[in-house]
């Protein structure tokens, strides 16, 4: 592969999964909240755990997003230090 094409594929691999990971976090959080509300507490606490789970899910989504950004920032800074 030529240089530009290789870089393109690597960029796609690094950032192409951002959207999906974000959505997966929110789905897991919301699903956990709904499960707690409907199955564990038998609708007595509805809708509170759903909202709490949704909030935690969104927070987890942003956390994974920031992790991806920090990881690639570190990787970009490393070669400069070696110079």
């Amino acid at each position: 592969m030529s240089g530009v094409k290789k870089e393109f594929v690597q960029l796609l691999a690094n950032y192409g999964h951002v959207g999906f990971t974000f959505v997966a976090s929110i789905v897991i959080g919301l699903g956990g909240g709904i499960y707690l509300d409907q199955k564990v507490f038998d609708d007595r606490t509805s809708p509170w755990f759903t909202f709490i789970g949704l909030a935690f899910g969104i927070a987890a989504g942003y956390k994974t997003l920031l992790e991806i950004l920090w990881r690639n920032k570190e990787k970009q800074e490393k070669p400069k230090r070696e110079d």
Binding site: V9, Q10, L12, A13, N14, G16, H17, F20, T21, V23, A24, S25, V27, I28, G29, G32, F56, G57, A59, A60, G61, K63, T64, R71
Partner: protein, 240 residues
């Protein structure tokens, strides 16, 4: 969405074996003859035979086949060492490189008419993801012992109620996103190709999607391997 022609299924049916008409069968033999299983074995046999034929006798001055493998294996080794360090790369190279080759070949095989990608079934991708997910926790426990829980509670004690659920959710989300991303991309590619082939196959309508399919196959294999490497190195690193 059924594929038009899957030649292994036709051969098996001629041999009198029960091939399921849905996605998975009901009896054990039917499950073994499901298309994603038979094509998984085809990919395994392909990788085994090709490497056996090209690397049967290693030479100091590499020929064509050996040259190709040296390029592939060397490139992957450099990639792993860049992302998780020399020591980890040496330790886990066989596992992750097998995943890379299997997923790449499994994705690309679906572009040939008459073949099907084994990775376009959620069963295959979920199995791969579970192996990665469980082994990254095993690496964490082996490296840190019981102190591994510090990865999940954040830097200060009064943030624990906030950070523990967030860390747990984002860890579970890895399981979901890693499996469904690979499955979704490949399944979408296969379905789109089948529909275009039915609609306008004689006008070569699937050709542009096939070119995109090559890119998607390579990128998805690379994403899976990159994320595996990242999870392993994060589990091995010290807690922040």
């Amino acid at each position: 969405m059924e594929h038009p022609i899957l030649f292994i299924s036709i051969i098996l049916e001629k041999l009198g074996l029960p091939v399921p008409h849905g996605l998975v069968g009901h009896t054990f033999l039917e499950q073994l003859c499901a298309p994603y299983m038979t094509y998984t074995w085809l990919v395994m046999a392909f990788l085994f035979l090709v490497s056996k034929l090209t690397l049967g006798n290693l030479e100091m001055v590499p020929g064509k086949g050996q040259n190709f493998w040296e390029l592939v294996i060397g490139g992957m080794d450099d990639f792993f060492a860049d992302n998780m360090g020399r020591e980890m790369a040496d330790k886990f190279f066989p596992m992750i490189a097998t995943f890379a080759l299997y997923i790449a070949v499994g994705n690309l095989i679906g572009l040939i008419p008459g073949f099907m990608s084994p990775t376009s079934s959620l069963n295959t991708t979920l199995a791969l993801t579970l192996i990665v997910w469980i082994s990254h926790h095993i690496i964490g426990f082996k490296e840190h012992g019981l102190n591994y829980y510090k990865h999940f509670i954040g830097p200060v004690w009064w943030l624990i109620p906030l950070l523990l659920p967030i860390e747990l959710i984002s860890n579970l989300a890895r399981l979901l996103s890693l499996s469904i991303r690979l499955f979704g991309n490949i399944m979408a590619k296969e379905t789109l190709l089948a529909i275009l082939f039915m609609l306008a196959g004689s006008f070569f309508a699937p050709l542009p999607i096939m070119i995109l399919g090559v890119l998607v196959s390579v990128v998805q294999a690379m994403v899976f391997v990159l994320l595996t490497v990242v999870y392993f190195s994060q589990a091995q690193a010290h807690a922040h």
